[in-house]
């Protein structure tokens, strides 16, 4: 008799435990935004560390856009609020930053600022079925037809676009590549660049580094005789390379970068005019613009943040906030502050992939003082015209 009671008890406990498991699983669909009074926009980016210049610009610019939109009455009368968290450009920090944002009630997401953390972010985002529009994580793996969109060019597009530029302008010259072998961003662009070059270039010299290796003796030796050095890397190692190679690399050479070069003229302790060579990059924003929509953004930014870094990452973040708001406004759905991130994701995804949705922003080529035309493909990649930006002429 006693044994039967124990058996029944065991069974009851087992059932309770199994049920408990189900409730726990169901917790994933909880609406963390149900107590929100404003629509929260979340972004995870490097606010400290070597890539901080990007994260800070993104945070400030998104805040600028949020303030402007709020001043005009918000989205359907609902105010916006920005939440920015620091991932130090470190993928291992993303599990924390993502949870902070998502469970903190964020509904719209700018994803991450840089690629490596962005790949982590994407996994969590797809699991929770949220939508993100990243200003600057340009990795090929970042966009997703399930709700991952980019404001910047994808790496493969940057590599291909650069190769196209080389084919048209540097045909037959001796080309060198200096890339970071343990960085998805760098390797991704480099591979597409090499694939896109035509046969006029012959042997392309490749030199690479890993980690924070900062003594570039060998790399300079390999590249010193090249006419054009393609550098799909961030500004810190690029400025180190230029300084260390100042008297060794050919004076007539061109340093040709990608969006990671943005801000290279503002690196502390790096006097870009001490470099004899030309420094240029292909981008979607010219941070020296003095007219048109780009200049309007730059002036507004400088008025609000006179001492903060200004670069295309910020401009892209500014466009991201406006693009998401534009999508929400063009949708027929009613917007409230307590809608879940998933509800927002559904609206945004439908808008961004619809054929009628065209956004006019400050990044991309702005013709005749008009805002640029930006559309998105179904796979989350962006369509707009690139801008070549000469940071410094040859001296």
């Amino acid at each position: 008799m006693k044994k039967t009671i124990i058996k029944v008890l065991c069974l009851v406990f087992a059932v309770v435990m199994v049920l408990g498991c189900f409730t726990a699983c169901g917790g994933g669909e909880e609406n963390y935004a149900e107590n929100n009074t404003k629509i929260k926009i979340g972004v995870s980016g490097p606010l400290t560390g070597g890539a901080a210049m990007y994260g800070i610009a993104v945070k400030n610019s998104a805040q600028l856009a949020v303030d402007e939109i709020n001043a005009k009455g918000g989205v359907d009368g609902v105010m916006l609020e920005l939440v920015a968290v620091d991932d130090q450009h470190d993928p291992t920090k993303v599990s924390t930053t993502y949870t902070t944002l998502y469970e903190g009630g964020c509904q719209l997401f700018l994803g991450t600022v840089t690629t490596a953390p962005g790949i982590q972010f994407k996994q969590y985002a797809l699991e929770d079925e949220i939508f993100y529009l990243t200003p600057s994580a340009s990795g090929d793996d970042i966009p997703s037809s399930d709700g991952g969109f980019q404001m910047c060019f994808t790496d493969s597009n940057q590599g291909t676009a650069s190769a196209k530029y080389f084919n048209e302008n540097y045909s037959g010259k001796k080309v060198g590549i200096f890339y970071k072998a343990d960085d998805d961003y760098s390797v991704g662009i480099k591979n597409n660049f090499v694939a896109g070059l035509n046969s006029s270039f012959g042997n392309v010299v490749e030199a690479s580094f890993t980690g924070e290796a900062s003594q570039f003796d060998s790399q300079i030796t390999l590249l010193k005789d090249c006419d054009v050095i393609f550098m799909p890397i961030y500004y810190t190692p690029a400025s180190q390379f230029m300084k260390q190679g100042a008297s060794k690399v050919k004076a007539s050479a061109v340093y040709f970068g990608c969006d990671g070069f943005d801000g290279i003229d503002a690196v502390e302790g790096f006097d870009i005019n001490s470099i004899k060579q030309e420094v240029s990059y292909l981008s979607h924003f010219d941070s020296t613009s003095t007219t048109g929509p780009a200049a309007d953004y730059i002036n507004a930014y400088k008025a609000k943040y006179p001492d903060a870094p200004l670069n295309q990452f910020g401009a892209a973040a500014y466009d991201c906030v406006y693009a998401m708001v534009a999508a929400l406004e063009s949708s027929d759905e009613e917007i409230t502050a307590t809608m879940s991130a998933q509800d927002f994701a559904e609206i945004l995804k439908a808008e961004f992939t619809s054929d009628d949705f065209v956004f006019h922003g400050v990044t991309g080529e702005c013709v005749n003082g008009q805002k640029s035309t930006i559309t998105w493909n179904e796979d989350g990649t962006v369509n707009k015209r690139a801008v070549k930006y000469v940071v410094k002429q040859k001296s």
Partner: protein
């Protein structure tokens, strides 16, 4: 031609590693502890020179030596001295803690953006080969420091006391040697070497961040072990070996991405084949 350039690059990279490794090996040889904060003292020295550089490079060098020595003394007094006689593991963990503390403090006080200087030493042209003046100075300084340290340890009273402390701390104390004082002197020398290494590294890289000393520090530690930790000429040899490996890898595009892996793989091989390193002393274990 390429071989000559590789050798020069190897000397250039190896020279800085040798300089750092000398500091590592001094402290290990005498205090018998791995000072993992050594790389961060280098960072402190690097920041000091960058901050003082606009005033005068010479004042910058002097300031970084003084400042690093001060930091070294404070760290030794406050973190390591209370642990004298504690298990080596406790000291090791403390050293890692000190390393993180220095990095974080630098980030709090100086911000996270790397800071740099723009400075060019110029090159010397020998035939068709050009060598950076900085490379020559680094190598000459490393050799000079190595010789000076060797002479100091062998022929001065303090130096001999260091050897005594290194060989048997208890017996040395019984012979009237002030062990704490000797270890303090060791840390002063180690920190001064770190400051000089930091200065050379900054002139080379022309940039300093909060983790500036971490990777060179770990590589120099590997260099010290390869050369035989505790051995002064060994540090020099180990540093140059690593420098050459790095230079060779850098010149071969296929190997270049694996430079760090190859360097540490060689450390493992050396430890397997000759655990005491190239020039390390064999210690007989008393049973």
């Amino acid at each position: 031609m390429e071989i000559i350039m590789t050798i020069i690059n190897g000397l250039s990279i190896g020279g800085t590693y040798a300089m750092i490794a000398l500091g590592y090996t001094m402290v290990y040889g005498i205090a018998k502890m791995l000072n993992f904060a050594h790389g961060d003292i280098i960072m402190v020295g690097g920041y000091t020179i960058v901050l003082f550089f606009p005033i005068s490079p010479i004042i910058g060098v002097i300031a970084s030596v003084i400042f690093c020595v001060t930091v070294g003394i404070v760290v030794e007094k406050s973190a390591y001295k209370p642990l004298r006689g504690a298990s080596p593991l406790a000291v090791l963990i403390t050293a890692i803690g000190v390393s993180k503390l220095l990095q974080s403090s630098a980030q709090i006080f100086l911000g996270s953006e790397p800071r740099g200087i723009t400075f060019n030493f110029g090159n010397i042209q020998i035939g068709s080969v050009s060598i950076s003046v900085l490379t020559l100075i680094t190598i000459l300084c490393s050799v000079a420091v190595m010789v000076a340290l060797t002479l100091f340890v062998k022929y001065t009273k303090t130096g001999r006391a260091m050897i005594a402390v290194s060989e048997d701390r208890g017996a040395a104390q019984l012979m009237g040697i002030n062990v704490n004082f000797i270890i303090m002197i060791t840390f002063i020398i180690g920190s001064a070497l770190a400051a000089i290494a930091g200065v050379f590294l900054v002139f080379k890289v022309q940039d300093v961040g909060t983790t500036f000393g971490a990777m060179p520090g770990i590589k120099a530690f590997a260099a010290a072990v390869i050369g035989g930790i505790g051995s002064i000429p060994g540090a020099m040899v180990g540093g140059l070996v690593l420098g050459f490996i790095e230079a060779i890898c850098g010149m071969v595009p296929a190997l270049s991405p694996y430079t760090d892996a190859i360097e540490f793989a060689i450390l493992i091989i050396v430890l397997l084949v000759k655990p005491t390193g190239f020039l390390g002393k064999k210690r007989r274990e008393k049973v």
